[in-house]
Symmetry: C2
Subunit: 164 residues, 2 copies
């Protein structure tokens, strides 16, 4: 590849990495995907080692993660016994799926969390003082607010799904 193009890509990869990092996901896996996404042909593990100057192990690990996400697939290249990888270029689908499942998981976690907390504070009722009961009542009101918010989040997710 032309040198200036590679330099341009490198800058791009750096930004992609930062962006991904700020979303709480690994920089490197994002760069890896980006390289495959921009490539006009499938790349081998060794190509990626060379392109990203990272260890085989690291790339192997993260490629498998990308496969698990359905973001990358293994393709056969005639005449080579290496594995070659190719990005699924439907970025929108990938991002939306990932966000959707992520949000749903979190909403589920919140529900579980709330249920457990409520069960615990209620089970303590028999041994509570009057003061404690007041506190617990206040808890329930505050928890209600959180529940309202998750309900809204669910609704918003449904709307967003239609939009995309």
């Amino acid at each position: 590849m032309h040198n200036k193009l590679e330099m341009a890509q490198d800058k791009f990869l750096g930004s992609i990495g930062k962006l991904a990092g700020s979303f709480g996901l690994n920089d490197f896996i994002a760069k890896l995907y980006a390289v495959l996404y921009l490539s006009d042909k499938p790349l081998s593990l060794d190509d990626l080692v060379e392109r990203l100057k990272a260890s085989k192990g690291n790339i192997s690990l993260n490629i498998r993660e990308l496969e698990r996400w359905g973001a990358v697939k293994n393709v056969w290249v005639k005449g080579s016994r290496k594995d070659f990888y190719e990005a699924d270029t439907d970025i929108k689908k990938l991002v939306v799926n990932k966000l959707k499942s992520g949000i749903q998981k979190r909403i589920g976690q919140v529900s579980d969390m709330m249920a457990e907390f409520k069960a615990l504070i209620n089970s303590a009722e028999s041994e509570m003082t009057e003061e404690d009961r007041k506190i617990v009542k206040a808890y329930h009101e505050k928890l209600k607010k959180i529940e309202d918010m998750t309900a809204l989040a669910s609704k918003a997710l449904g709307l967003a799904e239609k939009l995309f």
Copy 2:
């Protein structure tokens, strides 16, 4: 506070921490906010040290961060020269604001990133081979997809804003 209540809260705090962590933000700051959110009265730095079994420094640092977010405010308690803190209980507002500004920032980053990348690959044009030109053309098509997606994200954000 009643012992069982405290244990219940501790479990809750643990879950909150994990949840926050999975969003890429600090566990501890989430627990800190949660304690203040659930508390029926403002708490001092020392109260929080005792409640969370963490160092003063850590709490001081994270309280200031919460203040910066508008999630917590310093209140005066008659008869004490300590600082007391109180959670802003409008969780919905807090979460929505934080998400909104976060998403907007990211969208901006993507735009900047794309602009820079395009500028770089175009500036290289004069020294490019025919093959390079083909690659660049393919880049532009792929970048277009990303731009479409961010545009959609902006639109979705606008809709969500109305909903909340």
